[in-house]
Symmetry: C2
């Protein structure tokens, strides 16, 4: 596997565009990803009972359509809690793409992000689709424009791509995502699109994606709020020319590794760019009895407001980490836990067998001042591990969210 | 039932003291509550796997001791994650009280609050107990001093008391509590002491307390962090002279009502004085299928960072409330939900059948600007209801917690 430049247009046969349609003030607000040949589609979606119109649409497309060919996305308005009018507007958005590209509406995925409860400005959207169709291009720059157009409170676009070999053919896989707030994915995340020119069966494509999100997007959290719009879409158009993957062989494993690299990188970028974040906070739980328990504990730490504010303050207040482990619901022996913090400046053991070591507060503060800070908790119960990603909690999170709509 | 002045010394036969011992800088840091005759004790404690030394001690006292007579509390150091040395220090604290008051150590409840992972300064504590014993007094002022001494980041002491009639006798019941941060009680809360001169069996005392916390202290949240030290202690010394309550009769019901009034008031004061809070935020879920579902949904709303920041910003961003309801884990029909906000300025319906009404943003902002703001969600599924209390989320929460230890 090789890391390459680009995002959703890295794989062969994928084009993209990002334009300013007029939903938001002055910033790009619509994106289109298009495969020049029909592609197999897979998706994972929010588990929130309140599902946005595009989520309901995409779940049906994933289930019923043998092929998909386009993903249209808008930022500014989430099209959630918008009733029958919202469903109709979403369908009109898909139809506008279908008309422009001469494909069936059932081959169009839709995705929206922004304020909940507002109707899509459908006239603006329909005009936007025409602009997108005209701008559609291959190449890295086109993908970058699409990644910009789906940002809300994100401070930078999120892209990643790799290449790998299957059946003697070079396969590419790349994606884009947006995050920032209302980020606590559960089965998917707030708008991610991954494309690949791999030839693979639809069943295995979905299986790979569903397995992957459990250790990538589902392991990040910015604010513990699972969005109404979370959608991760994966398109595979077979352009690479490999023999179709129809069983879980070595090629499938290579694909899964490539997919996981891209989704994990996108997920980490999302965590690092969480609303108000000043650093990426990674939590690794090792020595757990089961992976499920390691997962639960790592997510409990990563989502604790008290841990996150301490990380923001560069304060080695490790008691809050043990506290968050303790209320996670997992049974373990606190008096057996070791705890470390780590950054480019080094590694420091803060806790041994549940009690403070004689560590240097000065060195702890130096480690915590890094742009990427890691905490490692060893339960000494077994060999299961899990890693979760989040961010610190700063004044700016409050600022951004106290007046997001205004 | 009559609301009366005072707190832990409102009931007959209870004395209290609050002193500066030297654990914290310049602020009162130790309290003692004492019953002049043996009292029955009941307690509910944190469900956190990481339990502080005093929690482990009190659980044993509650289980094994037929009578208790004193509660000693300190602020500044939590005595959690302190290993065998912490357990020994806690026992020495209890023994110091036992020696001073000539009672068995097994009749002494202990409680600590403050930084996790530090050892108690046991010399300071032992001297503090002597000061407390010398200061012990009846009356409202003594209770107020004790309430002050258990504060950490609280901005005001929390007390409440009532009187009610049982068997022709006037019974009094009052309590104190402290909260502020790491507040998401699960079976109890971060240090609450309630005293009554009621005569009641130990079994019924515990049963009443365990039932009560489910709808009082367990329904509040400041930051979703369940502390390692949560303890709610209830002492009943029988001084009122009523015939012992040994069955669930009308007298028991009256006691439960009085208990619930005091615990709910203390819980609401704790929520309103959450770290950085500018207002009390109350969430009522009505029309739910079961009380458990109503409880889960109300707590999901009250703990959402996005809802809390919107309430801080006086922003009627109701989509975040529906979103938090949707990821609570409870199944309901979003397109049937009505949502109201309420304060002294009036009531406003924001959402009808899952969609925005044509409400006035100006009036919504006025309502949300109140010191006590209520949201009411009607699921229209059944007749079950639940109420939860929390607070808004301000810059000051981050400020307080980014440098709490320094």
């Amino acid at each position: 596997m090789k890391i390459i430049d680009g995002g959703v247009t890295a794989a062969q046969g994928f084009q993209a565009a990002g334009v300013y349609a007029g939903i938001k003030k002055k910033r790009k607000d619509m994106a289109l990803v298009y495969s020049v040949i029909p592609a197999k589609g897979a998706g994972t979606f929010t588990t929130n009972v309140v599902k946005a119109a595009p989520v309901k649409w995409d779940m049906k497309v994933t289930k019923d359509s043998a092929y998909v060919q386009a993903v249209v996305l808008n930022s500014g308005v989430a099209n959630a809690c918008t009733g029958a009018e919202g469903d109709l507007n979403n369908e009109l958005m898909a139809k506008a793409v279908a008309d422009s590209m001469s494909i069936p509406a059932a081959a169009v995925y839709t995705a929206s992000t922004g304020v909940i409860g507002k109707q899509l400005p459908i006239d603006v959207i329909q005009e936007g689709v025409k602009l997108l169709a005209a701008e559609l291009q291959e190449g890295i720059e086109a993908g970058a424009k699409a990644a910009q157009a789906i940002m809300t409170t994100d401070t930078y676009p999120k892209e990643c791509a790799v290449s790998f070999m299957v059946d003697g053919k070079e396969v590419k896989l790349g994606g884009m995502a947006k995050g920032s707030g209302m980020i606590h994915p559960n089965m998917a995340t707030m708008l991610g699109v991954v494309t690949t020119d791999l030839n693979i069966s639809k069943e295995l494509l979905q299986e790979a994606l569903s397995a992957d999100v459990k250790v990538s997007f589902n392991m990040i959290s910015v604010d513990r709020d699972t969005s109404t719009n979370d959608s991760l879409l994966l398109l595979a158009n077979g352009y690479a020319g490999n023999k179709e993957i129809t069983e879980k062989n070595e090629d499938y494993d290579n694909f899964c590794k490539a997919l996981n690299y891209v989704t994990t990188e996108l997920a980490k970028k999302m965590a690092a760019d969480g609303e108000g974040a000043t650093k990426l906070f990674e939590v690794q739980v090792v020595g757990a009895g089961t992976q499920e328990e390691a997962t639960i504990i790592s997510k409990s730490i990563i989502t604790s407001n008290l841990v996150k504010t301490a990380v923001f303050g560069n304060d080695a207040n490790w008691g809050r980490i043990l506290c968050a482990m303790g209320y996670s619901g997992v049974d373990f022996d606190p008096e057996q836990v070791d705890l470390f913090i780590e950054s480019v400046d080094g590694t420091l053991k803060l806790v041994e067998n549940g009690m403070a070591t004689d560590y240097s507060e000065e060195f702890a503060t130096k480690i915590l001042s890094g742009k990427v800070v890691k905490a490692i908790a060893d339960l000494k119960l077994g060999s299961a591990t899990a890693t979760a990603w989040g961010c610190d909690f700063s004044y700016d999170y409050v600022k951004i969210n106290a007046d997001y709509r205004s």
